[in-house]
C-alpha cells in the first residue's frame, strides 16, 4: 500500500477563490492510501516545495499528488522537489484544478466537487504508480553524413568545427553535388564554383572529416547514439594512395563515348574519369561498363600511361563498418524525367532543354564552353522561351503535386544572365505564378523584367512544335490578354520539377526514417522540429526534406549540424522512462505492435520463457527504450494485452476512469 501525500495549492486566489481548497484536502484524507493532506498558498514556491519534502521525510510518503495548475506548468518542478527529498520523481502526479477547474467554473460548490474528483483520479493513479528509472545509453562521438552536396558539406563542416569526427558518404566519384553543376547563383549572381569549391577543399582538408566518395551506405543497425553502419566503397579501379591526379589517363583513354553525368549527358567523357576539373578527391574512377579493358580484356592504356602505377583493374568493392552517434541525411534531388511531358517536345528536339542543362550550357566548363548556342546546330539563338512549372503542381501521376520552389528564381536568373551577356537575344517566360518569397527575391525578379526587359507572359504552354526549318513553335496562353500565342523560338528551356534522389527510399528504409508520398523525408514536427526525423538520432539536411534553394539548404544544414552536435555533446543519453514494454508471458509474437510503431522501436527475439513451470522458446516483442517515444500506439494494437506503457499503464488509466465515474 502506498503512503500518499496530497498537497492542495491555493495559487493565491486563482484556485482558492473558486475551490474550497481545505475541503479538497479534507476529502483527500478519506481516499485509500492517503497518509497526509494539506493545503498551502503557493505549492510551487520554495516554501511550498519544502512542505512536500518535509512531509516525504517525516511521514515516509511513497507517492505525491499535487492539486494545482496544469502539469504542463509545474509537473517537472514537483518531480524534482520529490527527487531531492529522496522520492522517485515518477511517483508524483498532478491534479489540474486550475486550468481545468477553478478558472472555468464560477460556482464554488460545483468547482469544489470537481476538484475533489480530479484529486481522487490522481490519487487512484498514484496508488498504481511504480518508481521509474530513466535509462541510459552511450553516445558514439562520431557523425555520418549521407550525401556530399552543399547540404552534406556544410553539415559536416559545422559538426567537425565543433570538434567531432564526421564521415561523408557520397555515391558519385566526387563531392560537390548539384551545386557544382550550377553556373551562377541567385540572387547575387556569384559564380557557383567560386563559392562551393573552397568549401569542398575545406571539407577535404579538415582533420576531423573523412570523405568516402564512390561509396554507398549498405546497412544500418542500432539506434540513437549507437548506430552501426556498413559502407560499401565501390571499386574505383584506381589506387587512391598512389594516384597523383595528373589526368594523363583520362587524356589517353581511347573510350570517350560515355555520356557525361556531370554535363547531364550533353557531351561525353572518357571511361576513366573525374566528373569535373575541381573534383574532390582528384582521383579518377574507371566506369567499368564503358571501359574497353573491362569489356573486352584488351586495352590497358591507362595502366601503361600511369607513372604512379595507380591503376588497379583487380580492385574489388570493400565494406567498411563504422559506429556513429548521429546520422544526417543529405541526399539531395534530381530533376524529374520528362518522358511523360512530350507535348514540350523534349525528346524530339535537342533545342528543348531543362534548366539544369542550361546551367551546363552557360558554364565555361560545359559542353559549349559557356557559349550560348543551340545544341542541334551550334547556332546562336535569337529567341529563347522559358516554360515554368513543367511537372510541378501537377495533380495527376505525370508530375509532382508540389511547387518545386526554386524554378521561378533560377529562371529569372537565367533570363537576366542571357539578356546581360547577349542583349540581342529576346527572352520570354511563360509562367503560372511567379513565386519569389525570400530576401531580395522579388526585387531580383522585377529587375529581370524592368532592367533587362524579360517578357513575362502569364499562361502555360500547351505544345512545343518543332518546325522543319529547325525552329520551334511555342503554342501558349496569354491569360491576361486572353489570347492564344504562337511564338517562334530557337531554344526552349523547361523549368523541370525536382524530386528527391531516388535512392532516398532505400536509405530511409535502412534508417527507419519516415518518408512522405513524394519521397521527401518527414520531419519530426513540421513547425518545431524541422531538421529532425521522427526517428531519434537521424537529422535532415537540404532538399531530401523538401524543395529549397541554396541559402535555405545551408541554413538547414547548419541547423541539422547543431542538432547532431547537441546529441554528440552528451556522454550518455537519458531516456524517457515512460516507454512501452511487453509482458513476455502474454506476448504471442504477432507483430501487430511492430506494424504501428512509428519509430521502429519494436523488434522480436526468440526468448526462453518460464510459463508456469513450462519452459519454452517463444517469439517475443522487445521494445528498445532508446527509440520508444511513449506514444502508446502499440499498447492498443496488442491483441493479447501484453504491451503496456509505463507511467500510463492500462491499470492506471482505468483507475482514473473509475475514480471519475464513481
Amino acid at each position: 500500500m502506498q503512503r500518499i501525500g496530497v498537497f492542495v495549492c491555493h495559487c493565491g486566489s486563482n484556485i482558492a477563490a473558486t475551490v474550497d481548497v481545505s475541503k479538497v484536502a479534507e476529502m483527500a484524507l478519506m481516499e485509500p492510501g492517503v497518509a497526509h493532506a494539506e493545503d498551502y498558498q503557493y505549492m510551487c514556491s520554495e516554501a511550498g516545495q519544502a512542505k512536500i519534502a518535509a512531509a516525504i521525510q517525516e511521514k515516509g510518503l511513497t507517492g505525491i499528488v499535487v492539486c494545482s495548475c496544469s502539469p504542463r506548468m509545474h509537473e517537472a518542478t514537483f518531480r524534482k522537489a520529490a527527487e531531492r527529498a529522496g522520492l522517485n520523481p515518477y511517483m508524483v502526479e498532478i491534479a489540474n484544478i486550475r486550468e481545468h477547474c477553478s478558472w472555468i467554473h464560477k460556482d464554488m460548490e460545483e468547482a469544489t466537487k470537481k476538484a475533489v474528483i480530479l484529486m481522487r483520479a490522481a490519487v487512484a493513479k498514484v496508488n498504481l504508480n511504480t518508481p521509474l528509472q530513466a535509462g541510459e545509453s552511450r553516445v558514439t562521438k562520431r557523425a555520418l553524413v549521407i550525401g556530399g552536396g552543399i547540404a552534406g558539406i556544410q553539415t559536416a563542416l559545422d559538426i567537425a568545427d565543433a570538434g567531432y569526427e564526421v564521415d561523408i558518404v557520397e555515391k558519385t566519384p566526387s563531392i560537390g553535388g548539384r551545386m557544382s553543376q550550377l553556373d551562377k547563383t541567385f540572387p547575387t549572381l556569384d559564380c557557383s564554383a567560386c563559392i562551393l569549391t573552397p568549401k569542398m577543399v575545406e571539407a577535404s582538408a579538415h582533420e576531423k572529416i573523412t570523405i568516402y566518395t564512390y561509396s554507398e551506405v549498405e546497412k544500418v543497425s542500432g539506434f540513437v547514439g549507437d548506430f552501426t553502419v556498413d559502407i560499401r566503397r565501390k571499386a574505383r579501379s584506381v589506387d587512391m594512395n598512389k594516384c597523383t591526379g595528373c589526368g594523363v589517363c583520362q587524356e589517353k583513354c581511347p573510350s570517350k563515348k560515355a555520356p557525361s553525368e556531370f554535363n547531364r549527358g550533353l557531351n561525353t567523357r572518357s571511361a576513366i574519369y573525374t566528373p569535373f576539373a575541381q573534383a574532390i578527391p582528384n582521383v579518377p574512377v574507371i566506369d567499368r561498363e564503358a571501359c574497353i579493358k573491362f569489356r573486352t580484356g584488351k586495352c590497358g592504356v591507362c595502366s601503361k600511361v600511369c607513372q604512379a602505377g595507380a591503376i588497379d583493374y583487380e580492385q574489388k568493392d570493400e565494406i567498411i563498418t563504422e559506429k556513429y552517434g548521429a546520422i544526417v541525411v543529405a541526399t539531395g534531388f534530381d530533376t524529374i524525367k520528362l518522358d511523360r511531358y512530350d507535348e514540350y517536345a523534349y525528346s524530339q528536339s535537342k533545342d528543348v532543354i531543362t534548366s539544369l542543362e542550361l546551367e551546363r550550357v552557360m558554364n565555361a566548363a560545359g559542353p559549349t564552353h559557356g557559349h550560348l548556342e543551340r545544341l542541334s546546330d551550334g547556332k546562336a539563338p535569337k529567341e529563347i522561351v522559358f516554360i515554368q512549372c513543367v511537372g510541378s503542381r501537377c495533380a495527376d501521376d505525370r508530375g509532382k503535386p508540389y511547387c518545386s520552389k526554386i524554378c521561378c528564381m533560377y529562371t529569372a536568373k537565367h533570363a537576366m544572365l542571357i539578356r546581360d551577356k547577349y542583349p540581342d537575344v529576346n527572352v520570354t517566360v511563360f509562367y503560372i505564378d511567379v513565386r519569389t518569397p525570400g530576401k531580395n527575391f522579388d526585387e531580383f525578379y522585377r529587375r529581370a523584367v524592368e532592367q533587362y526587359g524579360v517578357n513575362y507572359i502569364k499562361g502555360q504552354v500547351g505544345k512545343v512544335i518543332p518546325k522543319p526549318d529547325g525552329k520551334l513553335l511555342v503554342q501558349g496562353s496569354d491569360l491576361l490578354d486572353n489570347r492564344q500565342i504562337l511564338k517562334e523560338a530557337d531554344m526552349v528551356v523547361l523549368a523541370t520539377a525536382i524530386e528527391p534522389n531516388p535512392d532516398v527510399r532505400k536509405i530511409a528504409t535502412m534508417l527507419t526514417a519516415s518518408i512522405d508520398t513524394n519521397n521527401f523525408l518527414t520531419e519530426a514536427h513540421a513547425k518545431l522540429r524541422p531538421v529532425e526525423s521522427p526517428t531519434a538520432g537521424i537529422f535532415l539536411s537540404g532538399v531530401c526534406q523538401g524543395p529549397k534553394d541554396i541559402p535555405e539548404t545551408v541554413a538547414q544544414a547548419g541547423a541539422a549540424a547543431v542538432k547532431a552536435i547537441g546529441l554528440l555533446a552528451k556522454d550518455k543519453l537519458m531516456t524517457n522512462p515512460c516507454t512501452a514494454h511487453s509482458d513476455e508471458l502474454l506476448c504471442n509474437g504477432c507483430s501487430s505492435c511492430e506494424n504501428v510503431c512509428p519509430y521502429g522501436a519494436i523488434t522480436y527475439e526468440d526468448k526462453e520463457v518460464n510459463d508456469h513451470g513450462i519452459r519454452e522458446t517463444r517469439r517475443i516483442a522487445v521494445v528498445n527504450n532508446a527509440l520508444c517515444q511513449g506514444c502508446g500506439a502499440c499498447t492498443v494494437a496488442c491483441p493479447s494485452g501484453a504491451m503496456d506503457l509505463q507511467g500510463f499503464s492500462n491499470r492506471q488509466i482505468i483507475a482514473e476512469v473509475d475514480a471519475i465515474c464513481r
Binding site: R340, A345, S347, Q348, I465, P466, K467, D469
Partner: protein, 269 residues
C-alpha cells in the same frame, strides 16, 4: 489466333477498303477475325456525360458477345476503338454505369468489363510483334517516307486508352518500319483533324488539316497513313498541300503481298 472483330458502320460503307485490306492481311498473318453477330454502330463519339447509359449499350452488347466467346475484341477504326475501350473501362470501373447498363441489358451474366479491347495495331505490336511482322513482309515498302497520322481518338485520354504515349507515340512508326518503309516524325501527328466539326464548320477542319499537311510535308513526308475514316476524309479535303492519305491496312496488305489479290475486290467496292 482467333479474335472477335467489330468492323463498325463506316467499314461497311465508305471505308470498305480499310476492312478488306485488314481481313486479307490478317489472313496472311494467320489471324482469324470473326465478325461478331448483329453488331450495332458504336455512335462514333464516346458519350462524355457521366449519366449517359443508353448511348453506351451498343458497345456493351459487342463487348459481351466477345466475352461469351472468350475472345478479345478487335477494332480497326479509331473511333470505334475509342468508344468501345472507354465504355469497357466504364463497365469495369464505374459502378453506377455498370449497374444501370446491366439493368437494361438483362444478360445471362452481368457484364463487368471482362473483355479485352484491342486495336488491330495493338495486335500487330503485342501479339504478332513487329519483329515477326517484318519477317513476314514479302514486299517491303523500301524508300517510302511515310508519316503516321494518329489524330486524337487512338491516343487520348492516354491513361484510359493505354495505347501509346499520347504525346510521343511510336506504334505506327514502328509499324511503318516493320513493313520496310521509313517513318517520318512530324509534330502535328497527334493534333486533331477537326473530327465531326467538318460537317457544319468545314473551314475550321480545313484549316486544321492544312496545318497537319504542311507540317508533314515540311519534314519530308510523302504519304500519310491513318486508322480513321473520318481523319482520312478530312485530310483529303485539305486544299493546300496535298499528300496521299492511305489506311494503314492498305500498306500492310501491300507489304504482305496480298494487295494485288484483292485489288479487284476493293475496286468493286
Amino acid at each position: 489466333m482467333k479474335y472477335s472483330y467489330y468492323p463498325g458502320c463506316t467499314l461497311r460503307t465508305k471505308a470498305k477498303a480499310l476492312d478488306a485490306y485488314a481481313r486479307a492481311s490478317a489472313a496472311a498473318l494467320g489471324i482469324e477475325l470473326v465478325e461478331i453477330e448483329d453488331w450495332q454502330c458504336c455512335g462514333g463519339v464516346y458519350p462524355l456525360g457521366s449519366d449517359e447509359i443508353a448511348t453506351k449499350l451498343s458497345s456493351v452488347r459487342a463487348l459481351n458477345e466477345a466475352k461469351v466467346k472468350g475472345q478479345s475484341l478487335v477494332t480497326m477504326c479509331s473511333a470505334c476503338h475509342h468508344v468501345i475501350k472507354r465504355v469497357n473501362d466504364d463497365m469495369k470501373n464505374v459502378e453506377d454505369i455498370r449497374v444501370r447498363a446491366n439493368n437494361y441489358m438483362e444478360l445471362d451474366e452481368p457484364y463487368a468489363g471482362e473483355t479485352e479491347v484491342l486495336h488491330f495495331l495493338e495486335i500487330l505490336r503485342d501479339r504478332v510483334g513487329f519483329d515477326e511482322l517484318k519477317k513476314k513482309v514479302t514486299n517491303p515498302l523500301t524508300g517510302k517516307k511515310i508519316g503516321a497520322y494518329y489524330g486524337c481518338l487512338l491516343l487520348r485520354p492516354g491513361r484510359l486508352l493505354n495505347f501509346d504515349d499520347p504525346e510521343n507515340p511510336k506504334i505506327m512508326e514502328d509499324f511503318i518500319r516493320a513493313i520496310g518503309a521509313e517513318p517520318v516524325i512530324y509534330p502535328y501527328r497527334n493534333e486533331c483533324c477537326g473530327g465531326y466539326i467538318s460537317l457544319k464548320e468545314k473551314e475550321m477542319s480545313k484549316n486544321m488539316c492544312e496545318k497537319i499537311m504542311e507540317s508533314a510535308e515540311g519534314f519530308g513526308v510523302e504519304m500519310l497513313t491513318t486508322a480513321c475514316p473520318l481523319c482520312l476524309y478530312n485530310l483529303n479535303k485539305s486544299t493546300g498541300v496535298k499528300l496521299p492519305v492511305v489506311y494503314f491496312t492498305e500498306l500492310l496488305a501491300e507489304a504482305l503481298g496480298v494487295k494485288e489479290e484483292i485489288k479487284e475486290e476493293v475496286q468493286a467496292l
